[in-house]
């Protein structure tokens, strides 16, 4: 493997990395801090703590994949890099959940969109959850610091046509649009962010904070599942973990016991509540797993006369916030408009269908364009979110009922997406809904979409952003951690991932996670170095 690859180079230089599937005997290890999860939150935490001279062990259930594995192939990537081999869904199966499961977590497979937490969201958190310290002004330096660490900047290259159609449609209709900031360095504009960046341009955790932590003597276990945090009196004594076998799916039977002064959980908005529930940690107000948010996503596809080639070029470069906060922060559901990349398997999984109709639809993939709406959930009493609970086998599952409030937003989003696509010259538009035909004019689409049944399964829904479930707040009665991610009831436990968001973000959440984790880790480092 090329020694230009930082991971290959680091491994050769003697990084302390253990593939747990290779362990043959149970073992016990110890450090100042055990960090569970290696995504946006875990990576940031590990690097900051390790740089302060603390000994850190990182635990990752997925495996370590890097440049040598990233071959721009959907089938291998979906099977190896995503939760449940890309088959994760909500409890009733109505919403597909896209979520990373590998070193770097979702930052290894995300589409690189890098937004600060909107001011409206931070202000709402201050007002509604007593998070007075998280003002836009107070957070600005943390966003700035992380933008620098992850090389985030508005994309300078012209957008691909898939994205430009969103721009053109918005421009025609007088809707606002902007260029998306991306976390890339020397990006080749290929379009394969979702299957592991083949060129190491993406500055996710895998290229930044994970190497940063490992360079500072942190230890990484991958293929190791955090089973249970075990308490001794009012503190966590150790983490019990299971090594996964070579397939990465079934435990091998070998266990690892991890002892530490402090534990940081950053296992995602589904994994973190799951771990806390399995561990039966104190939860006097039954808050763990509640208020889980997902930015429910619906989509329309358009057939353009021009060749769009929606599989090539930076996947997301244009967005519109025209409808995000239009009705205020807590009015009818707002949504951000973006564009998804469409490779054959993704398109075939997203576009529901079979037979000749499906063959015809996918046969025109090069002329296909798609817009997605990300609904801002959690800001209204009629959007209380979902619930993470445990299956019989102890694995976490998210139940997410779609309320009428959200259905209203979903229908409105279908309408505006179709309107934008027709304004940009679409020949035909189809809502990703089992009852939608191809519509050939905006007026036809408008009438038909207004009559589509807004029902689970019939409307095809997705989420790539899991948030909440261990919400932060000043009041222990309605939150799990405080504004610094410190657990309300367990003194040596912090949570540093998207699970602490008390609502959704209203933008792709990676920078929100990086920034909050950086802020909370700086404070934690001070605490631990002093002690």
């Amino acid at each position: 493997m090329s020694m230009n690859d930082p991971i290959a180079r680091g491994l050769a230089s003697g990084w302390n990395v253990t593939d747990a599937s290779k362990l043959t005997a149970d073992q016990t290890v110890e450090a100042d801090v055990v960090v569970i999860g290696t995504g946006a939150g875990g990576g940031t935490t590990a690097e900051i703590l390790a740089r302060q001279g603390l000994s850190v062990i990182l635990v990752e259930e997925g495996r370590l994949y890097y440049q040598k594995d990233f071959k721009m192939d959907e089938l291998t990537a979906y099977a190896s890099l995503y939760q449940e081999g890309m088959s994760r869904v909500t409890a009733d199966g109505a919403i597909a959940i896209l979520q990373g499961r590998c070193v770097g977590g979702s930052t290894t497979v995300n589409w690189t969109s890098s937004f600060r937490t909107p001011d409206e969201t931070l202000n709402y958190w201050s007002q509604s959850f007593g998070l007075d310290d998280l003002t836009p002004e107070a957070m600005a330096p943390w966003f700035g610091g992380r933008e620098e660490r992850h090389t985030m900047a508005p994309w300078q290259t012209p957008p691909n046509l898939n994205n430009d159609i969103l721009r053109q449609g918005c421009e025609k209709l007088g809707y606002s649009w902007q260029v998306i900031p991306r976390n890339v360095k020397g990006c080749w504009n290929l379009g394969y962010c979702g299957v592991g960046c083949p060129t190491n341009a993406k500055q996710g955790a895998l290229m930044t904070t994970i190497p940063g932590a490992l360079d500072n003597s942190a230890q990484l276990f991958h293929g190791l599942r955090a089973e249970r945090l075990v308490m001794n009196q009012d503190r966590i004594d150790h983490l019990q973990a299971s090594a996964m076998g070579p397939d990465g799916v079934h435990p091998s039977g070998v266990t690892v016991t991890l002892k530490a002064r402090h534990f940081v959980v950053a296992a995602s908005a589904i994994g973190s509540p799951g771990l806390l529930l399995r561990s039966e940690l104190p939860d006097p107000h039954q808050r763990v797993g509640k208020r889980s948010f997902i930015h429910p996503v619906n989509a329309t596809v358009a057939r353009m006369s021009a060749k769009v080639d929606p599989f090539h070029g930076a996947p997301q470069s244009i967005y519109s916030d025209e409808f995000n906060f239009k009705h205020g922060v807590d009015g009818p559901a707002g949504y951000k408009l973006e564009v998804p990349p469409l490779h054959p398997a993704m398109a075939a999984g997203v576009v529901p269908g079979h037979g000749k109709e499906q063959a015809n639809n996918l046969g025109q993939l090069p002329h296909m364009q798609s817009v997605i709406a990300l609904l801002r959930d959690g800001f209204h009493p009629d959007s209380p979110g979902g619930t993470v609970s445990l299956r019989e086998d102890g694995s976490p599952i998210l139940d997410y009922p779609i309320t009428d409030y959200l259905w209203q937003g979903i229908r409105e989003a279908y309408l505006h997406m179709a309107e934008i696509q027709f304004a940009a010259g679409a020949e035909a538009v189809q809502a990703m809904h089992l009852d939608s035909d191809w519509y050939t004019s905006w007026s036809q689409a408008k009438a038909a979409i207004n009559n589509l049944p807004m029902k689970p399964h019939r409307a095809r829904l997705f989420t790539a952003h899991q948030m909440g479930g261990c919400g932060m707040g000043a009041d222990a009665k309605n939150s799990v951690v405080n504004g610094f991610g410190e657990h309300h009831h367990v003194t040596n436990l912090s949570i540093h991932d998207a699970s602490i968001f008390p609502t959704s973000i209203g933008a792709n959440p990676q920078l929100s996670v990086y920034a909050l984790a950086a802020r909370n880790s700086a404070r934690l480092a001070q605490r631990l170095v002093r002690a």
């Binding site: 959907e74 075939a348 079979h354 037979g355």
Partner: protein, 211 residues
């Protein structure tokens, strides 16, 4: 059962009996687990087929099935010609080869789904392979090996258009795993007009050149 599932039955006469039979949520899950158990007890193949002879099933004898049973394979052999009408090769051998390969990739994909979703699919496949539930819920009267492409297509449309969410979900599950395994496979990329990763990038990247 929960009143949620009971109060939904009134507006939907033709579906009434099935609604009473197959409840959404917990009721559905309970029924499906019973099906799985019963199917196993009555001799349906519910264990992975492992390596099976090429003569026997038209699949590659070297492939080791990890999840799909012989009955599941027969199910997919019946469904895929309808699923990929217009996309499969016309020539008989190529066609058989494409179907068999897709079933193997379905198996490979499911192997990475993990135990929880595998269990869900086991229930779905058992329900489709166990004659009483196949007839009651899929309205497919004969065993899958004797189901015509037209009948398979009609079954898929029934589940797609059903007003029962659980059956829509079954349709989505069947089509999604099949669609991904078929259209995502490099030799099938041309079907969707996808040329693959740009050749210049493949040439320039080290991971494509190490032996």
């Amino acid at each position: 059962m929960s009143d949620h599932s009971l109060k939904n039955t009134s507006d939907d006469q033709p579906e009434l009996s099935r609604r009473g039979f197959l409840k959404t949520g917990l009721g559905g899950a309970l029924l499906l687990s019973t099906v799985s158990l019963t199917a196993g007890l009555t001799g349906c193949a519910t264990t992975p087929a492992g390596r099976i002879s090429a003569v026997d099933t038209r699949t590659d004898a070297r492939y080791q099935f990890q999840f799909l049973s012989r009955d599941d394979i027969a199910l997919f052999e019946a469904l895929l010609p309808a699923m990929f009408a217009g996309a499969l090769p016309e020539e008989a051998n190529q066609r058989r080869f494409a179907i068999a390969g897709t079933i193997e990739r379905v198996d490979q994909g499911i192997a990475m789904f993990g135990p929880a979703n595998q269990q869900e699919l086991r229930k779905l496949f058992d329900l489709l392979n166990f004659a009483p539930t196949r007839i009651a819920l899929a309205r497919v009267w004969s065993d899958w090996p004797s189901v015509s492409t037209e009948d398979a297509d009609a079954f898929l449309n029934r589940w797609r258009n059903s007003r029962i969410g659980l059956l829509n979900n079954g349709y989505i599950a069947l089509t999604k795993i099949s669609n991904v395994a078929f259209y995502g496979h490099a030799p099938h990329w041309h079907v969707s007009g996808y040329a693959g990763p740009p050749a210049w990038a493949v040439d320039a990247l080290p991971q494509f050149h190490n032996a």
